[in-house]
């Protein structure tokens, strides 16, 4: 019998094979179809969309959302969840801004922001991996702690950062500021990492079946800790970039609509919240789609709150479809 020939065996599900193949293709095409659909809508309703300034704006906004979505995706891939991302992002930005305000070197400020992100990520990861706490609740608690700390430290007032700092962080190459390049770089690197490296494969394994991963000798605890730390680091990085873009850091940076956007970006990008399926590339594209969606809603002058409703429904729909296909 030649290797690779398909022979109908007793009990082998041939029909099942076709269905699953189609499903995987669909998953990969989803974001692309999404972009195509939205672009179509745009050209009909809002010609203003194709204004070059608007397009540049979208890229810039996608960068910060995208970085957070990539971090969130890594955690989703192992089957977990990180609700603390926006609040960590906000607090990182605030800490960074405070350092600069009090005369600290900008370099120190950036390191501090990243460290905070990494620290919170480590706490989250440790709680989930070693203490076996529920990811949702742990990151929820962290979210509150970070959010509370943010309002407390700033007394609800934003802290401005000096112009020179902004100019450095938002340094423009070919008309696009650094954050966009960071976004692209991180997307490429993370996609390569997940798909090509050993650790990346291990991440998918842990999300697909934790027990089997252990049997295969994969260091599951390290993987879980690592992804939560990465998520925290990305949140910290986003804090730095967003602060520069807004010119100030404040607790509102991490308000509740941000987490919804981050989740929508990942879910629309084909990431499954149950783990093991999806890619950071998809999340990046999803972030762009969500940003475009926000932009269109804005241009169409849809109020903030109806927009929220729409996004809430989108998330539920995508996850529902995901659940249905899994069973």
């Amino acid at each position: 019998m030649k290797a690779g020939t398909h022979i109908a065996d007793k009990g082998e599900k041939i029909e099942g094979f076709g269905k699953v193949r189609w499903y995987r293709l669909w998953r990969k095409l989803l974001p692309v179809l999404g972009i195509a659909a939205t672009l179509l809508l745009l050209s009909i309703f809002t010609p203003r969309f194709f204004n070059p300034w608007n397009l540049k704006n979208i890229l810039v906004q996608s960068s910060t959302l995208g970085l957070m979505a990539i971090g969130m995706t890594l955690v989703y891939l192992i089957g977990g969840m990180d609700l603390s991302i926006p609040s960590v992002m906000a607090l990182s930005g605030i800490i960074g801004a405070l350092i600069i305000k009090n005369g600290g070197h900008p370099f120190l400020s950036v390191i501090a922001s990243l460290s905070l992100g990494g620290l919170v990520g480590a706490i989250n990861g440790f709680s989930v991996a070693k203490l076996k706490m529920i990811p949702f609740v742990v990151t929820l608690a962290m979210m509150q702690v970070m959010s509370g700390a943010s309002t407390w430290l700033t007394n609800s007032v934003s802290i401005a950062v000096p112009l020179q700092y902004i100019q450095v962080v938002l340094f423009k190459i070919v008309g696009l500021p650094l954050p966009v390049y960071f976004f692209v770089l991180v997307t490429i690197l993370s996609t390569w990492f997940c798909k090509q490296t050993v650790t990346g494969r291990w991440i998918y394994a842990v999300g697909s079946n934790l027990a089997t991963a252990k049997v295969c000798g994969i260091p599951t605890r390290k993987i879980v800790m690592g992804t939560y730390m990465a998520s925290g680091l990305f949140a910290g990085l986003t804090g730095v970039l967003l602060t520069a873009r807004l010119g100030a850091a404040g607790p509102l940076m991490g308000s509740s609509n941000v987490i919804l956007d981050v989740m929508s970006a990942s879910v629309v990008g084909g990431v499954s919240i149950y783990g093991g399926i999806g890619s950071t590339l998809g999340a990046a594209l999803g972030a762009i789609i969500i940003t475009i969606l926000n932009n269109i809603l804005n241009l169409m002058q849809v109020d903030f709150f109806p927009a929220q409703v729409i996004k809430g429904v989108i998330v539920i729909t995508f996850v529902a479809l995901d659940s249905v296909r899994r069973k």
Binding site: G4, E12, F17, V198, C216, G276
Partner: protein
């Protein structure tokens, strides 16, 4: 002559590729316990699942109290008074004994409020009837296994059930608890109820059952009254003709040098002072009944289960050196008991499943990324060598048949090429040809120098493959036999027939 209370007549059941039951006739009488004996795969679980309404028979009749009974769901079974006390007990650990018993039919006062007093009374009555000294208010979580079983039985009694099926009830009980269970069953019999007792322990069969039915390969090979049959005859019925597909002459395994030495393996309540050696190229069989600790030993060796103590030594350069957990991971592979639970990544491709344990060894030179070409070629190699039927390497593993799935898992470990491979029930659920193929693979591996620890519940398989047998009972190592030991001896020892407990409440 009495008529049987329960009659199962001409029951047939097939699963894709496997005939589970053919023309099975079983009778059980009121006030008696019927022992149902048979090896794994003999069909006894299938038969009981049909009686319990979990699955439907292809054909055949069930009559209860001389009336035909149609049982299509567990609810039907309950209506006909059939109570199935499973091995995995369906209990709510955070709730009280009485709540557990009444959870689906609370006694109500004025249609709304639960009548706690009534509940407590009825519960206490049942517990008394069982001779059980726990209180209705005890929380189930705080109870021992034996007591939990009493709660399950109590629940079954409350439902006014007439037929009680016990599935391997004593495998996790201590001596006292076992004696209590026996007295409970005697009480049930005295009350005129029907007891069907599924077990591997032959001494229990002789202690408390009146009749016995033996199943083998989906057929009933014997129905007898206990008083008419001897232990040896029973063992022979279970074991069948000595028909071993011999491995032939290549059984040198146990004469080569020691490659692994295990000492002082202890885990409270599970394993006691396990010590043994494994030789190079040997196929060592771990033999014993359910709950004897075989899988636990296997998992402890690779660090998947916690242990209280363990001392491993591994042969390196002709000497035995102490082995750490990390070393163990690299040198010992394990094919687990339930492939769908922790053996496979069901949504991933065959290729990915196969490479998962060997990824660090597949890295490209000076890079962190995986060498995909190497991954592909290794996968092709093993698909060929193991004769795995797939349409492509990228086929999702979840869509393969059981036999092919098992081969993928074997392929995974072949890629790692460990010197020791543990295989836990490698042919479970596979049809005859797949079983034979895997047996051939196991033999070839041993010939090529891999040492194998084999766990299987099928005596024929063990007899035909193993160089040596370690017999386990309740976490204790009770025997070490080389190839040449008789089938009856192995089955007998594990089933306890060699050390029958006579006296006390024995017959």
């Amino acid at each position: 002559m009495e008529t049987p209370y329960l009659k199962m007549k001409s029951v047939e059941k097939s699963f894709p590729g496997v005939k589970a039951l053919s023309n099975v006739n079983v009778e059980a009488y009121a006030g008696e316990a019927l022992a149902l004996l048979g090896a794994n795969g003999s069909g006894k679980s299938t038969l009981m699942n049909i009686l319990g309404g979990v699955i439907a028979a292809d054909s055949g009749k069930i009559s209860i109290n001389e009336r035909i009974a149609s049982i299509k769901s567990p609810m039907d079974a309950a209506i006909h008074g059939i109570a199935f006390v499973h091995q995995e007990m369906a209990l709510l650990p955070t709730m009280t004994v009485m709540e557990n018993m009444f959870i689906s039919h609370f006694p109500l006062k004025a249609k709304l409020k639960i009548d706690r007093k009534e509940m407590r009374n009825q519960c206490a009555k049942v517990l008394e009837r069982l001779g059980c000294h726990i209180s209705p208010e005890n929380i189930v979580r705080d109870l021992g296994t034996g007591e939990r079983q009493m709660v399950e039985i109590g629940r079954a009694l409350l439902g006014n059930n007439k037929i009680f099926i016990f599935d391997e009830p004593t495998s996790s009980l201590c001596k006292q608890e076992k004696e209590k269970l026996i007295s409970v069953i005697e009480k049930l019999k005295k009350d005129g109820l029907v007891v069907i007792y599924i077990t591997h322990f032959l001494n229990e069969v002789f202690e408390m059952c009146e009749r016995v039915s033996v199943l083998r390969g989906g057929e009933v090979v014997g129905n007898s009254r206990i008083e008419d049959i001897s232990m040896d005859a029973l063992v022979r019925m279970m074991v069948g003709d000595i028909h071993i597909e011999d491995r032939g002459s290549a059984r040198e395994g146990s004469r080569s040098e020691v490659i692994l030495e295990v000492k002082n393996l202890n885990r409270k309540g599970v394993l006691k002072n396990i010590a043994f050696s494994l030789h190079k190229g040997e196929i060592l069989g771990l033999w014993g009944l359910l709950g004897s600790g075989r899988t636990e030993i296997a998992r402890s060796l690779v660090g998947l289960d916690p242990v209280d103590s363990i001392a491993l030594r591994y042969a390196e350069n002709g000497e035995l050196v102490r082995m750490t957990q990390d070393m163990a991971r690299k040198r010992i592979g394990i094919i687990t008991e339930e492939r769908r639970v922790d053996g496979l990544f069901l949504s991933m491709s065959v290729k990915r499943n196969m490479s998962m344990a060997f990824l660090p060894g597949m890295k490209k030179k000076n890079s962190a990324s995986v060498d995909i070409a190497l991954e592909d070629s290794l996968c092709d190699q093993f698909i060929d060598r193991l004769n795995i039927k797939v349409s492509s390497k990228d086929q999702t593993v979840g869509t393969l048949s059981g036999g092919n799935q098992q081969k993928v898992i074997i392929g995974r470990w072949l890629e790692v090429n460990p010197s020791i491979l543990i295989m836990d029930e490698p042919t479970r659920g596979l049809d005859v040809s797949a079983k034979a193929e895997i047996a051939r693979i196991i033999v070839r591996l041993a010939e090529e120098g891999t040492s194998i620890i084999l766990i299987s519940s099928e005596i024929d398989e063990m007899m035909s493959l193993c160089d040596r047998f370690l017999v386990l009972n309740k976490g204790n190592l009770i025997g070490d036999f080389t190839y040449g030991v008789s089938k009856e001896k192995l089955v007998g020892i594990a089933a306890g027939s060699e050390s029958v407990h006579v006296g006390g409440n024995g017959k």
